[in-house]
Point group: C2
């Protein structure tokens, strides 16, 4: 890993063991490097699964297959390849994934559809079957490893390993939720990708698990942006091993379901924030909150227009209270807005209200807020009850250096 | 003006005089600078006008008023203020514009609605009425100036003056079309804006003029992007003085209308390209052509997704044939596409076809193309007959320096 992001947490957190989850790693040597790059996570029989995937139409075979597998609702294993995304590789890419699924299924004596595969890294090069086969064989028999080692092994251009945990009480039992993620680095000629895997020992029917993950992702993994670009491989999977010993949850109003959902959402939010904190070249973590839009969906589109604006992101990098750029971004979102009701704040300091700079605007506290690492931008549209919060990072020379300063 | 863009033309072109158009400039001193910053263009009685404006909802009073004025269809004068955009300034901003309109209308003895005003520069600060009044008074009586001086005077952070011309035969007469533009610089704490003004001595009914401008803008001013951000003040006006002596054109199938349209479109395209060539930090001019989409509109959305992708733009800056990023951008556009039919080219060299890298891909000619200043990217979707071309520039350290490397 390269120089640790200045926005990284101090250390990898303590994650609880999740009964029914065993991690192993191995060297497949997908690139010319000496590090583990293949992660194998074995899941106990009876594990249920949910997934959300990139909406990029040019997605990888892993994503296509994953979408089908999630419909079956059960899982026994996860393989994550680092160094080759296997995207845009046609039928050869697909058969490489199917070969991995068959190899692991043989070992576990399960259906191939219970074996999930993700790959990130170079695109356009079919995953080398021989390296994958040897790597998987080594991983199947490797000794179990820690969460931190697994989190490091799924990473590619990440500058720190990402993990998060939470717990809840369900049916009188403490259930645990632990997750790891990778993203969002990008380096020649790799493709950035966000991968997230969340594990719980709760017992949850697949349909409910899917409902919980979809809802949680909306305000977490789907509310972050680094550069507005959408990977061809983005994947978040949620596995429930059912080992906690409570009666299985099947509906959202079952007792304990809300508590479990809250724990899952907390882990998803923590991981999503860590991905932004590892954004390429990031020097500031930015929260954009839009309030009083005509609807929550409208608020989110406005918030993303602000968060994706290169001019807003460079202003924050420059610690410049350039609220005009925020106004511009609100106006270009294509959502209902009224210039003369709009109010903008940095931190807790309102800089513009009712379509005008505030009277007696004092830039000193605003400037002080912008010198910090955690920046908050607010836009109040004054129209309705819709609200949304998204997160991004600033746009710096570091981003250009990572993505342009090389020749392939 | 700062260091001239490396993509600038060698010199300002020779523009023909347009009968009925007189240019004058003056110092309003909207900023603490010693340069002309107020342009006054007088138009002979009978001049018709058409306009297209920013779709940014948070637009300036100038844009709001301009939209109303264009519906009247006639024009006698244009005032362009440089250094203050007058955007997000509420009623005070609006009364400042109305005062200018009244002052010029008094001088010419025309309706206030025949006086068009544009402003670009600092936002959030109402246009100072006293400076505007004195500047307009000086401009009204200044001696006429050249196209080049007017083009320089409307500029703010432009690194070169932008002009273009063309001609056509209408009703046996040669009609001339000349245009000037400004954009797309941005510097603390100003807001970038594209302004374009096109003048012809042809005689054209307002409705037809509007139809021609709207159609021409679609493939020119509305087919360029620097950073995906949309100004609150973008304006293009087309004035027809009717002095060429041919029978007025009223319908698109009138003889000569097509020739005039072609000349207008040529000037619009030339000016639009010059705006991109002055894009902040630009080192490469990029043409993105999408073919065989399901429709022209769909092709344009895909082309803009490619042109606005920070990862594509940084790859071009790095002279990197990273076609995977183009694939990613096609896939994220949200338009119909089929990964396994997609083909990508740089210059005339296909690098991927049918969802795969081409067999025996030779990177040498692609690398040679990418070392040039004029880059062409093609994406063939293989689905239908839709096609579109858009233009952008690369994303470099220069962009970050201009937009982030300062403190306000």
């Amino acid at each position: 890993m390269t120089i640790r992001s200045p926005l990284a947490p101090a250390a990898f957190p303590d994650l609880p063991e999740i009964a029914g989850v065993t991690r192993r790693v191995a060297r497949a040597r997908y690139k010319d490097w000496d590090r583990c790059d293949l992660t194998y996570i074995e899941l106990t029989p009876g594990t249920t699964v949910a997934g959300v995937f990139t909406r990029n139409i040019c997605c990888s075979s892993e994503v296509e297959l994953g979408r089908e597998q999630v419909r079956r609702g059960t899982a026994r294993a996860l393989i994550v390849n680092a160094g080759n995304s296997n995207a845009f590789t046609g039928y050869r890419g697909r058969t490489a994934v199917e070969a991995i699924m068959a190899q692991v299924a043989d070992h576990l004596g399960c259906a191939a559809g219970d074996v999930f595969v993700s790959s990130t890294g170079v695109i356009g090069v079919p995953l080398p079957k021989d390296k994958a086969r040897a790597g998987v064989a080594a991983a199947l028999t490797a000794k179990p490893c820690s969460w931190e080692v697994a989190a490091e092994t799924i990473g590619t251009t990440d500058t720190f390993a990402k993990g998060a945990a939470a717990s809840a009480i369900v049916g009188g039992r403490t259930v645990h939720v632990a997750g790891i993620a990778k993203g969002s680095g990008m380096i020649a000629p790799d493709m950035a990708t966000m991968l997230g895997y969340i594990f719980t020992d709760a017992a949850v029917a697949p349909a409910l698990l899917q409902e919980m993950l979809r809802e949680a992702a909306g305000g977490t993994f789907n509310a972050i942006t680094v550069d507005s670009d959408t990977s061809t491989s983005d994947t978040v999977l949620l596995f429930a091993t059912g080992q906690a010993g409570h009666a299985p949850l099947a509906a959202r109003d079952d007792p304990g379901a809300d508590a479990l959902y809250a724990a899952i959402r907390q882990v998803a939010l923590d991981l999503a924030h860590q991905v932004v904190r590892d954004g390429e070249g990031a020097s500031k973590f930015i929260e954009v909150q839009v309030t009083r839009a005509v609807s929550d969906d409208s608020a989110k589109r406005v918030a993303l227009a602000i968060a994706n604006s290169p001019l807003v992101k460079t202003a924050i990098a420059g610690e410049d209270a350039n609220w005009g750029r925020v106004v511009m971004a609100v106006g270009k979102a294509g959502e209902p807005a009224d210039r003369d009701r709009l109010a903008i704040r940095f931190g807790d300091h309102w800089v513009a209200k009712d379509g005008l700079a505030v009277d007696g605007y004092d830039e000193a506290p605003v400037a002080a807020h912008l010198k910090g690492r955690d920046i908050r931008i607010g836009a109040d549209l004054g129209l309705g009850e819709g609200r949304a919060t998204v997160w991004t990072c600033d746009l710096t020379h570091g981003y250009i250096s990572i993505n342009a300063d090389y020749r392939s």
